[in-house]
């Protein structure tokens, strides 16, 4: 423990710029100088180990003078552009110069200026403001795992930069905005849009991937202005991925704001809710119950999925599922679809086996955890799937299921690594769900887990890494289709924000209802559009990939005539004459409690009780088709991110491939 940490525990606030609790110690800003008894000079407390019997003085004239001196040096080359700086109001340098700085400076020469660097479409740089704390450099190398940023030059010529003219190619690059103590690195999409004191913060959940990162949605009036991470040690620590941070401009584009009906001429016409619901109710009674199909989208909350399932069940159909879960999802044994190790538990693992998953694009925060473990504990990573760029050392074992078979049979060199591991961790990607031989793959993986003793009372190392925010809740609620190919024979399809179902498979004469918030792929096939609210505008429960239920909170009002998803289905059920028995969020949640009580236990991870051993034996044959990539483009995975301009820029300039 360092002196600074000891002082923090004792409740003394020591100013600092370069020190960050999640990064290595640099000790180069000198702001944390304190006086230590019997030491001739003030010492940098962030780098000095605390020793027993040490007498630390933090408010003596010597310490005060040292801080004032350091602050004067820092402000020497810092521009006086706080009034036009986006960091203004949440700037460490501003705050600390008020609290610890001197009230005058002696600097009369001209200030140094530094050329701005181009770090891509997300991070704006004003390098003259940089105080060379090197937090961003350490973040990039240690946590993001890219060697893009570095320190160039010496003395007053010292500057942060990419060594050659290049962009910062990390999916976590937005976090350097948060850790930068001054306004040198700021958010490019947010530049000059708002002041931080005008914003209203709403603590919510990210839905762009299955991690469920905790976020704060900063809004001004009816507009989402920016998204910041919220501290949650179990899920995202204090980072979020770039997709989470910057997709919010998609919430303002391509929104569905009126119910619309496609006329005989193929054009959409805006209608009233009453007419729209009447049309849907009429059509749903004209088809056979077995021809009714409901698909929940990847951004659906548990409440609306519950309502959709209840409504379609009342109409006599049980063909309702959530996209991404594949044709025959296993919803019976919860350990078969959640991350049993838990995200924070990944840090205890010493060997990873990634099966058909590229966590870097599927769940960037999980990938950051794996990287943290690899860095801290030298954990070994074996990877089965198409060649990919994980930002840590890994062994590419193979591309297809036959490699798994070899590992299971002990013929592969990696199987001995797994067997010798103390806490082996196997992560299967949710892309496997779409394969026809998924049961066979899971049974092979279970054999590997068995031989590696990955599932023990004190350690559960058999995981599934989901792709979408809605997946886990859908399986918890039992959204399982009766048959895997019900869509081909359907006459009435209810797409609740489902844009990634295979729209070509929908028969020509089928009546398609699209309920969603964005004019994405689904609307082009829809016969009727029911506008709903996005996750930032409604209260909803989401279960993340480790089985932790969390709720979103409305941050901004919804657009136009849109309504909450579950309310639309509730209203439709009444018009259709099969009224659902809940009128409020509390009522629908108590209905959810009877189906999946864990959904009501918010912010608390509910581990699976039964392990895979209860599963019936699979007699499926494994195919030799190699694993595919589940997420082609990290920046554009759902209807909101596809509508976002910033994400489009990112995928144009940053996506490899």
């Amino acid at each position: 423990m360092t002196v600074l940490q000891a002082c923090e525990i004792a409740g003394v606030d020591i100013p600092r710029f370069c020190y960050h609790s999640r990064l290595s110690i640099a000790g180069n800003c000198r702001m944390c100088l304190v006086e230590v008894e019997k030491s001739p000079k003030p010492v940098a407390s962030c780098a000095m180990p605390a020793l027993p019997g040490m007498k630390i003085k933090t408010d003596t004239p010597l310490a005060k003078k040292a801080r004032e001196g350091v602050m004067e040096f820092l402000l020497m080359n810092h521009p006086l552009d706080c009034p036009i700086c986006d960091q203004g109001g949440e700037c460490d340098l501003q705050d600390q110069s008020m609290a610890f700085g001197s009230d005058r400076g002696r600097f009369t020469e001209t200030k140094r200026s530094v050329v701005d660097k181009n770090l891509g479409p997300l991070v704006k740089t004003v390098m003259t403001r940089c105080i060379q704390c090197t937090r961003c450099v350490r973040f990039a190398t240690e946590i993001a795992g890219v060697q893009d940023l570095g320190m160039l030059g010496r003395g007053s010529g010292e500057e942060i930069g990419t060594y050659v003219e290049r962009l910062m190619t990390s999916e976590l690059s937005g976090n350097v905005i948060d850790i930068c103590p001054v306004g040198a690195l700021t958010s490019k999409p947010f530049a000059f849009k708002a002041r931080n004191w005008e914003l209203k913060g709403t603590e919510s959940i990210d839905v762009t991937d299955a991690v469920g990162s905790n976020i704060r949605i900063d809004s001004r009036g009816p507009e989402v202005m920016r998204i910041l991470p919220r501290l949650n040690e179990d899920i995202n620590e204090e980072w979020i991925s770039d997709k989470t941070r910057f997709f919010y401009d998609g919430l303002k584009r391509q929104r569905l704001n009126d119910p619309m009906i496609r006329g005989p001429d193929g054009r959409f016409k805006a209608v009233s809710w009453r007419d729209a619901l009447a049309v849907v109710a009429e059509v749903i009674h004209q088809v056979k119950p077995s021809e009714i199909v409901g698909v929940a989208g990847k951004l659906s909350d548990a409440e609306s999925m519950m309502a959709l399932k209840d409504f379609l069940n009342k109409m006599g159909s049980n063909n309702v599922w959530c996209e991404g879960n594949g044709p025959s999802p296993n919803a019976d044994i919860r350990s078969g679809y959640i991350m049993n190790t838990s995200i924070s538990g990944l840090e205890k693992a010493d060997v990873f086996l990634l099966v058909g998953t590229q966590p870097r694009v599927e769940a960037a925060m999980v990938n950051a955890r794996i990287r943290k473990t690899v860095r801290a504990a030298q954990a070994k990573v074996g990877y089965v799937g198409p060649a990919t760029d994980l930002n840590y050392d890994h062994e590419h074992l193979g591309t297809g299921p036959q490699t798994l078979k070899e590992i299971a049979d002990g013929r592969h060199p990696f199987s001995s690594t797994l067997i010798n591991a103390k806490n082996p961790c196997i992560i299967v990607g949710a892309g496997v769900f779409e394969r026809n031989d998924k049961d066979a793959i899971f049974s092979v993986v279970e054999t590997i887990a068995e031989s590696a003793k990955a599932v023990r009372p004190d350690w559960n190392g058999l995981n599934v890494l989901l792709l979408n925010a809605a997946q886990a809740a859908a399986l918890d609620l039992g959204l399982v289709p009766e048959s895997g190919n019900s869509i081909e024979s359907s006459k009435f399809i209810y797409l609740m924000g489902a844009d990634d179902v295979n729209l070509e498979k929908i028969p020509e004469d089928a009546f398609v209802v699209y309920q969603g918030h964005h004019g994405d792929r689904g609307v082009y096939r829809a016969n009727i559009i029911l506008p709903s609210s996005a996750f930032s505008e409604k209260e909803g429960t989401y279960v993340n990939t480790e089985g932790c239920a969390q709720t979103t909170v409305p941050a901004v009002p919804t657009v136009g005539d849109a309504r909450d998803d579950w309310k639309i289905i509730r209203a439709l059920s009444e018009v259709a004459g099969a009224c659902l028995p809940y009128d409020s969020l509390t009522a629908i949640r108590s209905r959810m409690r009877t189906v999946a009580p864990n959904l009501l236990n918010t912010d608390e991870r509910q581990p699976a009780i039964f392990s895979y051993s209860l599963k019936p034996e699979s007699r499926q044959e494994m195919s030799t088709v190699p694993f595919g990539t589940a997420v082609e483009n990290f920046y554009m995975t759902d209807s909101i991110t596809r509508a976002s301009k910033v994400m489009a820029q990112c995928s144009a300039s940053l996506s490899k491939k």
Binding site: G221, P222, E223, L251, K252, R253, Q254, R255, L256, N257, D258, M260, R262, G266, R267, F268, K269, A270, H518, G519, V523, Y524, V559, G560
Partner: protein, 157 residues
């Protein structure tokens, strides 16, 4: 008053009565009859030197000698019905207010061509359409159909 009559008689003698009346009308003396302020300026003009005319048609007079010091420069506005001090362009402002002895025509040569803006009079009270409203102002014409989100356009379907 004597000088007024004298100059009027002189003008009638020179130009004849008909053209004298026409000139009176063109110069705005008939409207001046109802506007004492303008009338006084007109009377003041007699015998004064016309120093210059700006691009709006405002005439700048100076009379040294028998006028009180500080009242020896004045302007006759081009607009005879609606005139106010903001109609004086900046190049003449200095001369008119004794800030400088350079006339507006001389100062106009110093005007930067690259970024100098055209002078606009203050139209406050003349109607909202004449007044600048910032982007967020409810009277800004751009404000009215401003939406915080961009709806999906079904015509593209």
């Amino acid at each position: 008053m004597g000088s007024v009559v004298r100059s009027a008689v002189k003008a009638i003698k020179e130009k004849g009565f008909g053209s004298f009346l026409r000139e009176l009308r063109d110069e705005g003396y008939l409207t001046a009859l109802l506007d004492g302020n303008l009338m006084q300026t007109k009377i003041h003009n007699i015998g004064a030197t016309l120093v210059g005319v700006d691009k709006f048609g405002n005439k700048y007079y100076e009379k040294l000698g028998d006028t009180q010091y500080g009242r020896h420069r004045w302007v006759e506005y081009a607009a005879k019905d609606r005139y106010n001090a903001s109609q004086v362009p900046p190049e003449w402002h200095g001369w008119l207010h004794f800030i400088t002895d350079h006339t507006g025509d001389e100062l106009l040569l110093l005007k930067p061509t690259r970024y100098g803006l055209e002078h606009k009079e203050n139209l406050s009270g003349e109607g909202d359409q004449y007044i600048y409203h910032s982007k967020g102002h409810s009277l800004n014409p751009g404000q009215r159909d401003w939406t915080r989100y961009q709806p999906w356009q079904p015509t593209k379907a």
